[in-house]
Amino acid sequence: MRKIAYIIGLLSVLTLFGSCSDFLDKVPYEDPSAEALTDEASAIALVNGAYQPLQRPKLYNMRIWTLDIIAGNSEVGAGGGTDGIETVTLANFVATADNAAALDIWRGPNPGILYCNTVLENVPKMDIDESLKNRSIGEAKFLRANYYFILVQLFGDVPMTVSTPKPGDNLLPERTDKMTIYNEVIIPDLKDAIELLPVREAYSGSDIGRASKGAAAGMLAKVYLTLGMYAESLQMSELVESLGYTLNSDYSDSFGGEERHKNTAESLFEVQYYGLTKAGFWSDENQANWLSTYMGPRNTGWVGGAYGWNQPTQEFVDQYENGDLRKDKTILYEGGPDFDGKSYKANMSNTGYNVRKFLVPLSVSPDYNTNSANVVVLRFADVLLMKAEALNELGRTTEAEEPLYQVRKRAGLTNRGDVENLTTEQMREKIRNERRIELAFEGHRWFDIIRWDNGQYALDFLHSIGKINATQKHLLFPIPQKERDANPNLTQNQGY
């Protein structure tokens, strides 16, 4: 009996030895690894992942439209006191390196760049359909250029990364001169994207909304314009025109929560939204549009949420010309047309005005987290105005009249005489003001005023509206302190 027990004991220990090799091999249940992806669905999913950071509040869902506040078109509003204080300090030009909004917006494009690099490293190796492969590479390059464009405009020189980090890589890069980034990443990526991406019409069903040739061309036009390369910019704007984009008949058709407002004939590129899904409203993967929720007049219940952000200033409202249809469509003001059957009163906001453009009525989006409206990044009106600006700067002022007039005509300003017989300076002024009104609250104003006259336009304008604290250093945001604590190789922008 004893001997049997002894033998059993030894055997059990020995079997343990035998089974040990697999015992310690565990693989994750939930997360696949990049090296294991081989099929088309995974490749598409990787590309989809590269789009998602655009959706986040760190970019188009919040921080991008708050740039209009910093540019002086509006005020934060909200609850007052410390509500939105991080944006208020930026808008008053007293922000320091630990400003929370600067940190938040720094967190916006960087993950997107990594996801684009992941696509560009892994998709070419996959054994999938050639046209899908090219399209995916084109989409990733378009998005990467877009993310870097936002970073260099806001922060100036930033680290340049065109591959995913590998063991042994230097994870503490220094800042690269922004012109290098333009010349080595942004412009070549967009040029490649124009080659690789199909035209908008080639997309159907659930692919509508992906980056297209026109989107890349339009973005490149904007990049060239920012760099003062007017001839190249003009060429790109004309390419966009040739691809068949048109203005919507109604200005409001580009914004709104119903299906007909999405991916319209005028839209070159939009950030897509869905409404309520399992991701929470405040999480990075939230699929609901925040704009209506944030910009609804506070405590009125006119839309879901209604936090009362982004209240237009009197100075902005005064810019509207008589007969401009856009006034009623862009802002809410006392005496203006009703919204969803309700009349606006000036005491609903600190300034007497609220933004109307993005509000979605309760019948379409009943709650704060159900809004599925898309956010327009680039539309044809913008391209027309860029064309006009490029033509004017090249001295071809009379040719600039037509594109400018097209935009104004749609807005109800049908008198062509307003744009005829103008000097270069007068035309320039006209185009700049037109951009301010046409693209109001879409996040373009800040980028415009800091590029005009090498930033002097911004300083002059801000001083004229009372933001006397604005100085040269404020044309760039501070590199967030948290990032500098993690990476001491990052220098700070001058003056912070």
């Binding site: 009996m1 990787l46 720094w106 760049i113 990594l114 980090p165 659930s206 909304g209 993967e285 302190q481």
Partner: protein
């Protein structure tokens, strides 16, 4: 009175009876003069000694004492009789001229024969070569605390116990300082099963001993999980003899103490007026004053929110157990209920435990045994937030006129923006249910005389559910429009299989050898499912099926495994020279194949000087042993189960109204992650002095952690999350220290007085970190971090600005370095310009404090007089700093929240204060930035426990059929001496106080009965 190891007595007694009876029949009747002597044998305290053996010296003639301690023996006239009994000094008495003897036996307090549990075995304390502290269940029981974790506080040198005080929460242990910034918790082993079951799931009554393995030569046998020390808990076994039934009960009342003083309504109203007025001086758009604050005096006291939230709470604890045994086996079964209301309204904790232990010697060569712990606990609470309760305005009543919960009005800068804390604490329902099964079953086989083979299979199953319901309510400022339910279900299943083969032998009478080899395999599977839904018709029917809108689901699964092989050899020569060597090889599934295995050896030696021939036995020193040891242990605590994989998360996006899946990399991968290693040197000396009246242990240690796993500081430019970060092996930490334990029996006799005292010193330093770049650690407080681990400093040292007084007038502001342009004004705090560049910015921060105590100490004094006993237990720490983060809001005078009374000394004009700044809304100068303003000394001395007990005299107890009955009064946390201004200087292992629970003082009455 010190408990003895009585379990040797009974079997011996019966064997002796048998033996003696035989001997009596074979006794040689000599022709010498025989006479009969009789006698009575008692212990020092008068209790009769049953079964003591009485022999004629040098013969086999003898007898045993009976139930009354009497004996009678026929002996030769000139003989000498010896009386002996295990655990007592034997006596020899010549019988010449005597017929009756009254013999008093003195206890042989061979504490050194105590057994200590070490990894995979037991050892006599006298044979230890490593540093092990033993705490018996007796010292810890009958304390009005929820768990044995709290009862361990201060009982073992070098073991720091940190308890949060919340009902149902587990304590944190730190053994010999903090050796890593990761998981510093020691390994908890219950009845041989390493487990992550919280120690609060055990019933204190069921614990026999707790042995703490502190140095590497003791912990190396646990290899990779022993780096932070090992706590071995052994539950009770039945004792041979008549079975016994015991019952204990404890009833207590707890109250919160040490509450900070907040402003009353009048004081707050004037503060608020001042805050807004100072803001309006420089603001471009001034704020309006609150009209109803125009005359602060009409407000009076207002609402005391903290008082509304806290209440006296009662606590009850009942245990029934029965146990017994024989030489064929033993059993111990117990059941207990612990019920505690929390001092915060609407919180409670209840725990049921059942313990079932048994051992059976089925054959002489095979023994089976099992230990099973079943426990079920229920934690209930509303939604409460202590800091939010402090912050609520005293000018706001708890209820509105219609009885509903009040809330702040608009705008927020006048009324605040905190939901009614009493309302949420009462109306929200959070409930966590836990069900745990911890068990093992083992077989011990002796294939040959000196060989033992033991195989143990263990399981550690934990199931816990969480259910949170918040009703629809029109809260201000933000209402909850729909009632919402969140439910979560978790299960964690761990399996263990240990095998050991031990060889015990003695050669030539002097060479004692104990060799063990073994293997251990453990794996775990964790599964979670969660769901939430909103929109309930009624709060009473609130299951997931009743919800109407917004359903969400989630869930995940993960696992890990560890495989180990180990060996140990103990050799001692004549109990004079002792050597131990262990080795363990561990493989973990968390590391890649290249980095998977680690080898952890240890060596230790001890020399019992007192056994040497040159050592003259004297009445001063009885026993001297010096010990020296070195060992390596590994740590993998706190790293992700799949740390080395490159993983993509599944997310979502949408095109043209159709949701699509996305894949994206979230966490930076680290394929090279590997074991963290701790190398420890230990030197110690054990002294037993004055006839074992004083026992002293002194240990000195040096602990070096290398390849420490630190959360990587991921720059956002990599694109990876800087919040969900991987661990990298990038640090080295050194801990060095001293531990002293002294136990002395000061007075014996009628009035007894014993003292146990321990003190330890630990110094902690980061030797290397991340190639010289300081790592910011800890959570974000007010959006930035205040702790850093940097070379040459203690781990998690506090880092911030240094204050330099207050600007008294505008001229001082203009002269000084620039702080905040357009923001700094008289009354604001001056910060030192440490780099002398005329600007105060992030480069002017420095090290401002150390969160770890240098000294921890405790002293227990026990007194006994007759049937009364008294224990007085003090415990404390010194040399640590606390960052009182609550003050960032509750002393800032810049937000619409209530403040502590400290702000009554604020600056109101030139010369009024040089320490408390002015009240100004939105704090433009950032007076609350992380600085030494909120660093406080965390040293404290606490009268932790005072217990007065009365044991019923045996005669009285026997009348009631009881073998023992004891009544006691026990008080926990009676008072605390400290300079710390927050709720409780025991703020948790991080050293930061953010909403810490207050100290609870408990007074209780208890009863122990044994049948």
């Amino acid at each position: 009175m010190r408990e003895k190891q009585k379990f040797f007595k009974e079997p011996f007694a019966y064997r002796l009876v048998l033996f003696v009876l035989c001997a009596a029949f074979t006794a040689n009747l000599s022709a010498q003069n025989q006479k009969t002597i009789s006698g009575n044998i008692t212990e020092e305290n008068g209790v009769s000694v049953i079964g003591a053996s009485v022999f004629v010296k040098g013969t086999t003639t003898g007898t045993v004492s009976d139930i009354d301690g009497n004996f009678s023996l026929s002996v030769p006239e000139s003989s000498v009789i010896t009386i002996s009994y295990i655990g007592y000094h034997p006596q020899e008495i010549p019988v010449a001229g005597k017929t009756h003897l009254s013999i008093v036996l003195k206890e042989d307090n061979q504490l050194l024969d105590e057994l200590v549990v070490i990894g995979y075995g037991v050892m006599k304390k006298r044979d230890l070569t490593g540093a092990v502290s033993s705490v018996s269940g007796e010292t810890m029981k009958d304390k009005p605390v929820a768990s044995i974790g709290e009862a361990l506080q201060g009982r073992a040198a070098g073991v720091q116990v940190i308890s949060s005080g919340k009902p149902g929460d587990n304590v944190s242990f730190r053994i010999r300082g903090i050796s890593t910034i990761n998981n510093s918790e020691p390994l908890l082993v219950i009845d041989g099963v390493p487990t992550d079951l919280g120690i609060n799931s055990l019933n204190m009554e069921d614990v026999e001993t707790v042995d703490v393995l502190k140095d590497a030569s003791a912990t190396a046998i646990y290899g990779s999980r022993g780096a932070n020390g090992v706590i071995l808990v052994t539950t009770k076994k039945g004792k041979s003899g008549d079975g016994s039934i015991s019952f204990s009960a404890n009833w207590g009342v707890q109250t919160a103490t040490g509450m900070p003083q907040m402003l009353n309504a009048t004081q707050f109203a004037s503060l608020h007026n001042e805050m807004i007025a100072n803001y309006n001086q420089l603001a471009s758009s001034p704020l309006t004053q609150r009209a109803d604050f125009a005359d602060p005096t009409v407000w009076g006291e207002g609402t005391d929110w903290l008082d509304e939230l806290f209440r006296s709470a009662r606590m009850r604890n009942y245990t029934v157990s029965y146990s017994g045994g024989s030489d064929k086996g033993n059993y111990y079964v117990s059941g207990g209920v612990f019920d505690q209301d929390g001092v915060v309204s609407n919180t409670s904790y209840r725990r049921y435990t059942v313990q079932f232990n048994s051992e059976s010697n089925v054959r002489s060569w095979i023994k089976f045994g099992n230990n099973i712990t079943l426990s079920h606990d229920i934690k209930k609470q509303g939604s409460y937030d202590i800091r939010g309760t402090m912050a609520s305005l005293p000018t706001q009543p708890v209820y509105n006129e219609d009885g509903s919960y009040s809330g702040p009005g608009e705008p927020a800068y006048q009324y605040g923006d905190i939901r009614n804390p009493i309302g949420t604490a009462t109306l929200s329902r959070n409930r966590t249910n836990g069900y745990n099964v911890l068990g093992n079953i083992f077989a011990e086989i002796k294939p040959a005389d000196k060989l033992t083979f033991k195989s143990l299979g263990g399981i550690d199953f934990k199931f816990w559910d969480q259910n949170s319901f918040s009703p629809k309510y029109d809260w201000k400022p933000i209402p909850q429009p729909q009632s919402s339910l969140y439910e979560e279900s978790n299960k964690s299943l761990t399996y263990l299989w240990d095998n050991t083969l031990t060889y015990l032998d003695t050669f030539a009478d002097k060479h004692n050898v104990n060799v063990m080899i073994g293997s251990s395999a453990q794996n775990n599977l964790y599964n979670r499912m969660n769901a939430s839904v909103q929109g309930f018709l009624s709060d009473n029917n609130s299951q997931l099926n009743n919800g109407l809108t917004d359903p969400t689901v989630g869930g995940t699964k993960n696992d890990w495994a560890i495989l180990s092989f180990m060996g140990r050899a103990n050799y001692n020569y004549d109990n004079k020279y002792l050597f131990t060597a262990t080795i363990r090889r561990d493989g973990s599934s968390r590391f890649s194949k290249e980095n998977r295995w680690g080898t952890f050896p240890s060596f230790s030696a001890a020399w019992r000087l007192s056994e040497e021939s040159f050592f003259h036995a004297n009445e001063w020193i009885d026993d001297v042993k010096v010990r020296l040891g070195y060992g390596e242990t590994g740590n993998q605590g706190g790293i992700d189960n799949y740390a080395y994989f490159t993983r993509l998360k599944t997310g979502q996006y949408v095109f043209n109204g159709t949701p699509v899946s996305t894949l994206y990399p979230l966490v930076m991968p680290n394929q090279d992650v590997q074991w963290e290693t701790v190398r420890q040197f230990n030197a110690g000396v054990d002294l037993s002095l004055l006839n074992q009246r004083i026992n002293l242990t002194l240990d000195a240690y040096l602990k070096n952690t290398s390849d420490m796993l630190v959360p990587m500081s991921v720059p956002i430019t990599t694109g990876y999350s800087d919040i969900y970060v991987p661990s990298v092996n990038a640090g080295e930490i050194r801990n060095k220290g001293l531990e002293l334990t002294v136990s002395s029996r000061n007075l014996t006799g009628q009035f007894e007085w014993d003292t146990d005292f321990n003190v330890s010193y630990n110094k902690n330093e980061v030797i290397k970190m991340n190639d010289g770049i300081a790592l910011f650690t800890g959570g974000d407080i007010n959006m930035t971090k205040v702790q850093v681990s940097a070379e040459g400093r203690p781990v998690n040292a506090f880092y911030g600005y240094v204050t330099n007084g207050i600007f008294q007038n505008q001229e001082e502001v203009d002269r000084y370095a620039t702080q905040v342009t357009g923001g700094t004004a008289p009354g604001d705090i001056k910060f030192r310009d440490l780099d002398n560049n005329g600007v105060i910015n992030a480069d002017d921060r420095t090290f401002i404090g150390n969160p770890f105590p240098e000294w921890t100490f405790s002293m227990n004094n026990s007194f006994a007089y007759g049937n009364f006993d008294l224990q007085v237990f003090f415990q404390g720490v010194a040399g640590n700093d606390i960052y009182n983060a609550n003050r960032i809001w509750q002393e800032s005078m810049s937000v619409p929240q209530n403040q502590t009374t400290k702000v009554l000394d604020r600056w109101t004009g030139e010369g009024t204060s040089n320490s408390v700044p002015r009240a100004v809304y939105s704090d433009p100068n950032q007076n609350v930035r992380h600085s030494n303003r909120f660093i406080e000394d965390g040293s404290y001395l606490r009268l932790k426990n005072l217990t007065l007990g009365y044991t019923l005299p045996k005669s009285v107890a026997q009348k009631a059929q009881l073998s023992m009955a004891r009544l006691y009064l026990s008080c926990q946390n009676l008072f605390t001496l400290t300079g710390y201004s927050g709720f409780d200087p025991e703020v948790g292992a991080g050293g930061v106080d953010l909403g810490t629970y207050p100290v609870t003082r408990t007074i209780s009455l208890g009863l122990n009965i044994q049948f």
